[in-house]
Symmetry: C2
DNA sequence: CTCTTGCCGAGACTTTTGGTCTCGACATGA
DNA sequence: TCATGTCGAGACCAAAAGTCTCGGCAAGAG
């Protein structure tokens, strides 16, 4: 509270002064993505990003609450890679398309290191961890929609555990993405999708 | 390289002087586990561990290469919780027992926070990340053994992807453990085990 | 017993990094 | 023309990992 005068001096007064420079924003996000993608395992620091973008550190912190938030923003920017909301009319088709798009999108050489770094940062950044939670929840919801649609068509067994199915997909995705001990190819995606369909089909 | 005299002065000379105090080792591991288990999200620092164990920081670094190594050691100590190498003679039984033991063991209130913290630390600790890699690889191998045994008994379809099955188990485990958005109960474990069996059964 | 060796607790110190603060320059619109 | 708010630059602060040093002391060798 502690109002100065009127109701809300900040909201009422129109914006004056110099405006935000869009070029700067783009430069920061681009530099962040670039450093993340080409990082040789060494963590990407804020100073490095600022230096690479030719920007003051304060300019970064003026617009993003934490380093991780920049990463997430940078990723979301190019996340037109999001799974296409297909609807083939049958679970098998929908699921195979979704999982394949998700897996190959995540494993792509320009996104995989970003996701890995994002996960690393989230481990020590409360802000980012929260954002990642929302992000992953949204992705789960999208997949769950596909399954529920199939359920309404009567394609699923009555006792099928949709949440478990969803987590099987994203569990394998992140587990392999981070441990990097096995591939995340379209082939694997199709296999996994078929596994899920086979195990949950209405009897 | 750079030998002083003879072959290896260090290895030849028998150990003299004060010996390592086992009590100290135990105190450090116990303090680490305790702080990890009761951590309210705030990261556990080395100073905190040393303080809690009534120990000098150097004493920790004398015996462990990094903070994460202490955590891993502490966990391994109590990891008699490892899945029991059962052999019921059939895939369904073996898998259900293994996955249930693994899930409930990992989700137990005294181990879950430790695993979470371990994952967090591994994100920024090269040493620990390597150790975790070995650790998880060993767990995967144990599960894979069960599946291969079933394969030799002819219980699996010829084109079953054992690695994918393994990763579905550990993927769901870690994904739910870390995101904490859904439970890791025995019920879920059994469902998952049955799903895998159903989808991979020999046709 | 006594002496050397090496562990122990304590804490100062170094380095890295995320994040804040301040400053002079300058763009923007009233 | 002038208040407002952004910009780059860099000093500054705080937290935490890891190193170094020191006095004390336990354990075995002689």
């Amino acid at each position: 509270m502690t109002p100065s005068s009127g109701q809300n001096a900040q909201a009422d007064r129109p914006h004056t002064g110099r405006r935000r420079n869009e070029r700067v924003r783009e430069a920061i996000l681009a530099a962040a993505m670039d450093l993340l993608a080409h990082s040789d395992g060494t963590p990407v620091t804020v100073d490095t990003i600022a230096r690479a973008a030719g920007v003051g550190k304060q300019t970064i912190y003026r617009w993003w609450p934490s380093k991780g938030a920049v990463f997430l923003d940078a990723l979301s920017e190019r996340a037109a890679t999001v799974a296409p909301e297909v609807d083939t009319g049958a679970l098998a088709g929908d699921l195979e398309a979704f999982v394949t798009a998700t897996f190959t999108g995540a494993a792509a050489p320009e996104t995989a290191p970003v996701l890995r770094s994002l996960a690393r940062e989230a481990a020590h950044d409360r802000h980012l961890a929260g954002m990642m939670s929302e992000f992953t929840a949204a992705r789960r919801a999208a997949l769950r929609d596909i399954l529920e649609r199939a359920g309404r068509r009567g394609e699923l067994a009555g006792d099928a555990d949709l949440d478990l199915m969803v987590d099987q997909v994203y569990g394998v995705l992140w587990y392999r993405l981070i441990l990097d001990h096995a591939p995340l190819t379209a082939d694997v995606a199709v296999r996994l999708a078929r596994t899920l369909v086979a195990a949950s089909a209405a009897r």
